[in-house]
Structure formats: structure tokens, C-alpha cells
Symmetry: C2
Subunit: 201 residues, 2 copies
């Protein structure tokens, strides 16, 4: 096997450390950057290097922001009576994309996972409980967490904590078949849940 | 839709300019970098920023190298009598991975494509002709070019140019069904070629 020039090998190694990018994809990206004459390599290097510079967690919602607060946490156009709990800022974006939700958010930055040594103290759960308890406007807390074991565990933990003092509704996302999904590709768990939760037309 | 912090948006934009990375994948990569605490963002920024610094084209094979010559072009362990022509340094790596080939290489840096305004003067074809003519060792030139129209056009053009003075063999890669390939997934062109070029057991 040929020894690649060091700078090419370094770039391939760094890119293949990213999730979902294997060494062959990394190779393809690097050779594309080498061929590219529009300065994409420098643009990418600068953008990635500056990525974390001004980014912090909003002290209200714990979403990423570059100002003092996340715009969603202080915008007067959002509904203060509903609070949506998500695991990550990416999940927040996914909920925003639906254009269905106009309330506030709280980002946990993960889910409980004893196997990976992620306990409640590593998440923004105490901040969530405090936020809910201090507010006298919140009427509903929506747990928009993943449909896996970690998401479920986190949901139960938060419900438990909230039950001590919060008198409003605590809801979670519906489980069922995905829109546009073929039944024969679905796992049994999803399908049996969709059967159990079936609804009248 | 929420406005993302500027530095996050910049990194997403730069990453989605890479081939094969859409905006959603770029988002996923950037949020992963933000969460990552091992300094991968800085490592990646440095590696990509320095990518082109020491990389040049070898004056013999036109492969990328960071020394004066590509190691493959000057290694005493390679066979000077065979010259393999590839379109890109990535294709060279692909041939090297087979461990089947021990000769020299010549990288064209592209293929003829009138539609994209890529004529012979943009490729390392004149250097190839000169290299073959000046050598009195080369006995075979292998055209390891893509199986598409551009690869074919390039192969015919080079054959024409070589015919003027080169007396050795000019060969090209076999066409046929890929190893491990299911017949019913193959396109008609590949299959009919494999039928035409069928061989005795």
C-alpha cells in the first residue's frame, strides 16, 4: 500500500473520526478538497475551527445560542404555557421543522444511560425541575424524547420528579407507524404499539 | 424556523458543500462536533487547513506527493516495463489496494469531457506521451480508466496519440460482471458486454 502524503493522511484521519464517515468516504472527501480550486478547504477549516467560539448554552432553555439567550426562549411570539423537553439541540430543530409547535423548549443534552455512565446530574434535569416549579404559567410539559430505552427511562425519571410539585399535564409523543411507512418494513415493537394505540376514524 | 448561531450555520454550510453531504448530514456532523469534547473540531480544522500545504504533483507520475517525487514513481521495487494510466490519485489507490499491480503509474487528473470543457490540454496527456516516448523500457501501457463515456473517449484519444510512436502493447481493464454481483441487479450494458467477452473455463 502506498504511503499517502502526511497532510492528506491527517485530513483523512480527522474526517473519518466523524460519525457516519468511514475511511473510504473520508478519502473521497479529501481528494475532492484537493481538486477543488474554489478555496473550500480553507473555508471549511475556518468554519470548523471557529465553530465553538461564540456558542454557549442558553441559561433558560439550554439550547445552543450565540447571544445571551436563545431567541426561542425569549421571543414574545411563543406560548409560555407549553414546554417541550428534547434530548438535543438537533431534536429541537426537528420539532421546529414540523411548524406544529409554538411553545418553549428545554434541552436536556442527552438521555439517561447507566451503561454509558450518564446519570441525571449530567443532564439539564435539575434546571428543568427548577424552571417548571418557578413558573406559574406552564400548563403542559411535552416529553419529546427518543423512542428507545434511554428516552423512556429519562421520561419516567422526569415524570417522577415533576409529580412532586407540578400540577399540569405531562404528555409524550404518540407512538405508531411512520407516515409513508410500509407495514412489512416495520419492526414488531412499532407495529404492536400502533395496534394497541389504534384510534377511531 | 429557528435562526441557528452564525458559527454553527457557517460550519453546516461549509460541510454541505462537500460532495455527498447534504444539509441534514452536515447538521448531524456539526452538532456532533459541538458535543465532542476531545478537541476533534480543532484537529479537523487544522488538518483540513493544512491539507494542501505540502502537497504537489510528482513531476514523473503526477500523483500527489509531499516529497520531490511520488514514492511509487522512484521506488526500485516497481516494474518499469508496465505503465498504468489512471484518471485520479484515488483511482491509483484503488489499483494499489488490489496488490495485483507492481508497475508504474501515470495520473491524468481527469478524463476528457467536452461537455464540461475538459480537453486534452487540461489533463496530463502530453506529459504521458512524452514520458512513454522518452522511455525505452515501457512495454505495456494499461489504460485503467472509468467505464463511462468520458473514460472511453480518453482511452481512444490516448491510444491514437500513442499509436504514432509507441510500439508496445496498449491494454485496458476487462469489462464484465462485478465479483459477487447478482445478475438481476446488473444493467443491460454490463451484462451484454460480459456475454460478448465470455471466456472458456
Amino acid at each position: 500500500m502506498q504511503n499517502l502524503p502526511q497532510s492528506i493522511q491527517n485530513a483523512i484521519d480527522a474526517l473519518s473520526d466523524l460519525p457516519g464517515i468511514g475511511s473510504r468516504s473520508a478519502e473521497r472527501l479529501v481528494f475532492n478538497l484537493l481538486r477543488n480550486e474554489s478555496g473550500l478547504d480553507q473555508k471549511l477549516a475556518l468554519a470548523v475551527g471557529a465553530l465553538k467560539e461564540n456558542v454557549r448554552e442558553c441559561p433558560i432553555s439550554f439550547n445552543y445560542c450565540d447571544g445571551e439567550y436563545c431567541p426561542l426562549a425569549i421571543s414574545p411570539n411563543r406560548n409560555d404555557r407549553v414546554l417541550c423537553i428534547v434530548e438535543t439541540p438537533m431534536d429541537l430543530l426537528a420539532v421546529e421543522r414540523t411548524s406544529e409547535y409554538k411553545g418553549r423548549y428545554h434541552v436536556l443534552h442527552g438521555a439517561l444511560s447507566p451503561l454509558n455512565k450518564i446519570g441525571p446530574e449530567k443532564l439539564r434535569i435539575s434546571q428543568l425541575i427548577k424552571r417548571v416549579n418557578q413558573s406559574n404559567e406552564i400548563e403542559e410539559v411535552i416529553l419529546a424524547l427518543s423512542g428507545n430505552v434511554e428516552g423512556d427511562a429519562t421520561a419516567y425519571y422526569i415524570m417522577d420528579k415533576l409529580a412532586e410539585s407540578f400540577k399540569g399535564r405531562v404528555t409524550r409523543l404518540a407512538r405508531g407507524i411512520p407516515t409513508g411507512g410500509d407495514l412489512d418494513y416495520l419492526d414488531a415493537g412499532t407495529l404492536s404499539r400502533a395496534l394497541m394505540d389504534r384510534r377511531e376514524f
